[in-house]
Symmetry: C2
Subunit: 248 residues, 2 copies
DNA sequence: GGCTTCAAACTTGTCATACCGGATTGTATG
DNA sequence: CATACAATCCGGTATGACAAGTTTGAAGCC
């Protein structure tokens, strides 16, 4: 069970000490030799821990001088913030709609052709959930890329990462997406049609409708889940009351 | 000056080999002993390089089995993409306008009061460029925060980081911002007025106007700087970038 | 023949020790 | 008082050794 590597434990411990303010930003950590005595590990292990911490931006090692706590802790930088599925979908609704509007006037024929291919691919009944998801991603990222703006592409990419990597969001989506295939298909098609017409306002509207429907589905799903829980709980209490009745 | 540490060179080299496809994702790297012979360094150094690569997500070390290239390379994840000042400003124009529109209906009196304070603070003639910049940041982030959507806040925060941390973008801005204080002041005030009226469309428009003016200033600046060779191209860019203004 | 078992071979994990060269610091010198 | 220098501290790297985990293939069993 304790199959972790030693230097990882040491790194976690040092990170903790930094977070607790024992070693505030900018200060110098004890030398490798002193730390190796304090943690009762070899100097090599301390070095490995410090190298891992340096690679992730927590400290910064100066040859011959010592290891110093970074002035700005990594915190959430690079990591994903904890957002709800609602927040994420709302943000995508706004941002991806603008990306589509921006792409509409200048989108190329090749890109439009690719989008149509993706529409067909997604219509395939016997595709797995993962495959569908990959196609969905490419559809949205293709439109984002057509905005021709690397900042926008980066933002939409990071929103997609939240969609895939945050557990709560992932489950929320997989619940909603299961039976919404048809609706999504139609909405995607609407977006493509607007793009084909080079209609910026239309593309924006179609993209917003897509996400707003998703938002509504998620709200329904939440209500449904709450209802199920409620029923289950009342069933339990019913049982409990019946039990006490029997006992009486 | 080139006093880099050995293990960093080794790590860079291994990273390069991975990127070049010599070691495709999922494959196993040669053992530490073999690598130490090939690079003509000790096994300790190889270990340090591999630990640094693992900490940044390039490889994944399995005790007793070997080091494997990560199936999904980190690429730019976490790091800032290289975007131009134009792209960034265009993205902010679209996204921050939507954030303001979203914030307008529900923004609190306290937040509005804080925004007015910030307006006054920015009007201060004798503030340094850095202070102005900090106030500017708080102004935009306060509005983003009022959207009450953590995904949106995260996105706008990362856009601000690009503004501050990408050298090219930074110089572009400092050139434009130097004499534009008055214009910015008025535009910020317009945004606040619209928010006070809980006018979503007005807030969106005011925010777009703010960034579009910035965009035009930057284009002018570019033209001035490289008048001869870039005139043709920047005219195209102007058309291209001002498309987003027309869409409003 | 095909499947299971298990030990040998290989790999990473950690350690102790040694020495080099850069950084710091305190002291002696002008 | 400022400067130069040397003692010392510290990180960087190398070597060799052993512990512990994984792979692999052959022996043995069904």
């Amino acid at each position: 069970m304790a199959e972790r590597r030693l230097f990882e434990d040491v790194a976690d411990e040092i990170r903790r000490l930094i977070l607790e303010g024992i070693y505030p930003p900018g200060t110098r950590l004890p030398g490798e030799r002193e730390l190796s005595e304090r943690f009762e590990v070899s100097r090599v292990t301390i070095r490995e821990a410090e190298i891992a911490l340096q690679a992730t931006g927590w400290i910064h090692i100066r040859t011959g001088a010592g290891a110093y706590v970074a002035s700005e802790l990594p915190g959430n930088n690079g990591r994903l913030p904890e957002v709800s599925a609602f927040e994420l979908t709302e943000a995508r609704s706004l941002f991806e709609a603008e990306a589509a509007a921006l792409a509409a006037p200048t989108i190329s024929a090749e890109t439009l052709a690719r989008l149509e291919e993706l529409l067909d691919a997604m219509a395939d009944e016997q595709a797995s959930e993962d495959e569908i998801s990959a196609i969905d991603r490419e559809f949205h990222m293709t439109i984002a890329a057509a905005s021709n703006n690397k900042a926008i592409i980066h933002v939409i990419e990071s929103l997609w990462r939240m969609r895939m990597e945050l557990p709560d969001v992932r489950t929320s989506h997989s619940m909603v997406c299961r039976k919404d295939g048809k609706a999504r298909q139609a909405e995607h098609a609407d977006v493509v049609v607007a793009l084909q017409k080079r209609d910026a306002a239309g593309a924006r509207l179609a993209m917003r409708r897509h996400f707003n429907r998703l938002l509504e589905s998620m709200l329904d799903e939440t209500e449904e889940r709450a209802l199920v829980e409620l029923r289950q709980r009342s069933a339990e209490s019913r049982e409990r009351y019946l039990l006490s009745a029997k006992l009486a």
